[in-house]
Symmetry: C2
Subunit: 107 residues, 2 copies
Amino acid sequence: MPNPPFMTGVPELLILNLLREREEMYGYEIVAAIGDATGQTVSLKEGVVYPLLHGLEQDGVLKTQRRPANGRTRVYYALTSKGVRRLFELTDEWRRLQRAVTRALGG
Amino acid sequence: MPNPPFMTGVPELLILNLLREREEMYGYEIVAAIGDATGQTVSLKEGVVYPLLHGLEQDGVLKTQRRPANGRTRVYYALTSKGVRRLFELTDEWRRLQRAVTRALGG
DNA sequence: TATATATACCTATCGTAGCTATGTATTTTA
DNA sequence: TAAAATACATAGCTACGATAGGTATATATA
């Protein structure tokens, strides 16, 4: 199964950016929101999003809060200050690379 | 060592695009040209470029020609028709994703 | 009432592909 | 003549997105 091009880091960037906008979201909500935010160009499955969320929490980039909602338990995620910095870094890197490639392609 | 974000597919895209512009290049030349074309934003080592070139030849995306130059043997690479198609596909995909992410980031 | 669908979470396994490090050999420069 | 540049090559590592599958509750439908 060939690896889709250009996707490395994109899930993380999109998740962090969503959490900057919305303050607090739970996993299942994030999955849908990513599709919405990108006009379904990026459509990540739970199998991608959940492990990523766990890793980001482990790294102190996200903090969690378990809260019941509709009789079910949801895990809400929010940015830490480290997460905010990480988002800035990733955004910068994205712009840097995006400019470089566009330049190389469009000379 | 953490994986640099957003790089998946970029080496291939840049190489194919260079070969579209220059018709024919050898590996060592490509390594330097990538740095030039991106203002050193992307700076790939031989360990990245050579295996990639071999793979692309294997896939019929590139064709090679060994020719002596300066008493040394150089391996010259050029696009096949399949390579041209591959370049179009990758360029499309790049633009698609680039637009989607930029939009999600709220440009 | 039974059941299908939506919600909400989770994990295991896999393959790809870029990165580092290292090696060989020749040619050119200091 | 030693060092640097040229030119090729491969081995091993790791990260990470993708697929597939699993659990459980709530709601809509037949």
